[in-house]
Symmetry: C2
Subunit: 343 residues, 2 copies
DNA sequence: CTGAAAGCGCTTACAG
DNA sequence: CTGAAAGCGCTTACAG
């Protein structure tokens, strides 16, 4: 049985890909010299020889085999990234930022969605690690068991956006607490006194604490609180729930843009006007937030800077465990009650 | 210089990862037998021996090296995917669907965003292909040169969602033409007579033809037409443009949900009511579309089915070049003028 | 049922 | 400046 694929260009079928040996033979040099030329070292090569090698590479359409290179060198010029769900705009943006930062350094990014692999326990993490990764970016909330596994992998790890940073590794995040506090304080400046909270699982989230404290400092009691997952659906459900108790709130602080997306849809369907009936302030600063109706006031996370720092930390192994907190920026748009700049 | 990283668990620092040889020695067998056990073949292994090997694997925390395996076998159990921008919800959904489909078959997906790598010409495609891929899913519009490169890679290729399918390979798409036609016909059923079009680059898009023909069959002339990229920003700009000539239209057919997202924001800002002033019908059926205000009427692409078919085509090399067209489904929500089901 | 050995395509220390 | 050779960690045909 031949492996010639009918899907590939007929002109190429049956023709095997050229290897370094083919190139060496064609150029009349050793395979070592081919490597020296292609890698610009570690040995110098005479210009004339180099030209011959390059000609051979072009003539044979030679493409180096990254797998063989990775096996020999021990690293694959590839970093792994674990996210809960890459469809979530916040993670989509983060993955993209990591991809750009990695790309600038000649690295490829291998992304694993844990939501589509949770069924096989933590084996997706091992599977990821088997690829000779240069490092691993974890943007997912891991169980203690998974954390232990990640630590034991022998690969550099950086945690991003964890609620509970780990003292054993580099963690990069934003100042959830003060970001949340600023947003809630802003709602209070608009005269809101019954500010609800919509967010994630109990106890782990600094944003919830920021919400309580901002209220407390203004002498206000916490409003209704709805916790769930960070999905649009959960936001929608929270919106329905809050709409049903609309007399108990005049504003909501939402822990993620994705949640706000669903929440605002539910509020609209219930006939509530934003911000007149309920003001909304959110968290993340996704690019979509600007296009919601009304445009969403949200606490921006500096995703590009965080991605850059994450890659740097991954590559610079001399750096010990540390927690790096990036500051957030409150983006004031209309959902909180601010007026459009142009009018 | 030691390579022990301060980022890894101190308990592991200095300890090198176990290899198949270590496991073999520990279990008192040959490395071949370790392979037979781990791969369930190709040779049978006595139960007692197998147990010893498994014990050794556990004791040494052995994890097979995927790179070495890929080098030896010639394939990496990995498929590549090229998308223009994984942040776009439509592509994010598609990547996710491909990831799930691949995951079910034990494959990993390596995603390349061409927008963050366009600068280096088509070298990102070669770089992708150097990883011993089992196949390549192309969800990006390629130049003729890039197409030629992809074809010459010697790797199975399937094109998804191309405006212009390629007769040389398997192409998987939806029936853009009839999907668009159905959406526009639906707007006409709502009594709209001046239906605008917002879409992509001139000439390449069957959705534009579907729009014209639906109008033509109803004896209606084409409304205003705005073309650009498929970004939210382009949709916003298109919305501003159409709002400025609001007297020339009473509906818009938009070629993608992402575009609709920006368009609706611009229409709202201009003080227009959807669907009262302008009805909107869109294309893609992203999960977000349901949460827009008002909920977006959109032509759904069966992304999961398409992803499954794409992976099947990639793996089944006996299948020749073909074009597979999936049917679309019109999802009627409120933006076209339909009333909510519940009221 | 088990093992010795070749080889996948690279890189690089070593020798010239 | 160039090359012969070892070796990265696997898989598998071949032999027992």
């Amino acid at each position: 049985m031949t492996t010639a694929s009918p899907l590939s260009d007929p002109r190429d079928s049956g023709r095997k890909a050229a290897t370094r040996t083919d190139v060496a033979r064609y150029a009349g040099v050793s395979s070592a010299v081919v490597s020296y030329v292609l890698n610009n070292g570690p040995k110098p090569v005479a210009p004339a020889t180099k030209a011959r090698v390059l000609d051979a590479v072009a003539a044979l359409h030679y493409r180096p085999n990254a797998t063989a290179r990775a096996l020999k060198r021990g690293v694959a010029d590839m970093i792994g990234m674990i996210v809960p769900d890459s469809r979530n705009p916040f993670f989509a943006g983060f993955v993209h930022a990591i991809d750009r930062a990695a790309s600038r350094r000649g690295l490829t990014v291998l992304v694993i969605n844990s939501d589509s692999r949770r069924e096989d326990g933590s084996s997706h993490i091992s599977a990821l690690a088997s690829h000779q990764l240069d490092g691993l970016v974890v943007a997912d909330t891991l169980t203690e068991e998974e954390r232990a596994l990640v630590m034991s992998l022998g690969v550099n790890v950086v945690l991003v956006n964890q609620f509970r940073p780990d003292s054993r590794v580099v963690s990069i995040g934003v100042d959830f607490y003060n970001g949340a506090k600023e947003a809630v304080a802003h709602l209070i400046e608009h005269g809101r006194e019954r500010v609800a909270f919509v967010g994630g699982d109990p106890g782990v989230d600094e944003r919830e604490r920021g919400w309580i404290d901002a209220l407390g400092e203004a002498g206000l009691p916490p409003g209704p609180r709805v916790r769930g997952s960070f999905s649009v659906e959960a936001g929608y459900a929270a919106g329905q729930k809050l709409a049903a108790q609309r007399d108990q709130l005049d504003a909501v602080f939402v822990a993620s843009d994705q949640l706000s997306f669903g929440l605002m849809a539910a509020l609209h369907e219930a006939g509530l006007t934003i911000p007149a009936d309920v003001a909304v302030a959110s968290f993340d600063g996704s690019s979509e937030s600007r296009y919601l109706c009304p445009p969403l006031t949200t606490v921006r996370q500096p995703v590009d800077e965080m991605a850059d720092a994450a890659i740097d930390a991954l590559l610079d192994t001399s750096r010990g465990a540390a927690y790096v907190d990036f500051p957030t920026t409150l983006i004031r748009r209309q959902s909180c009650g601010c007026h459009p700049a142009s009018s």
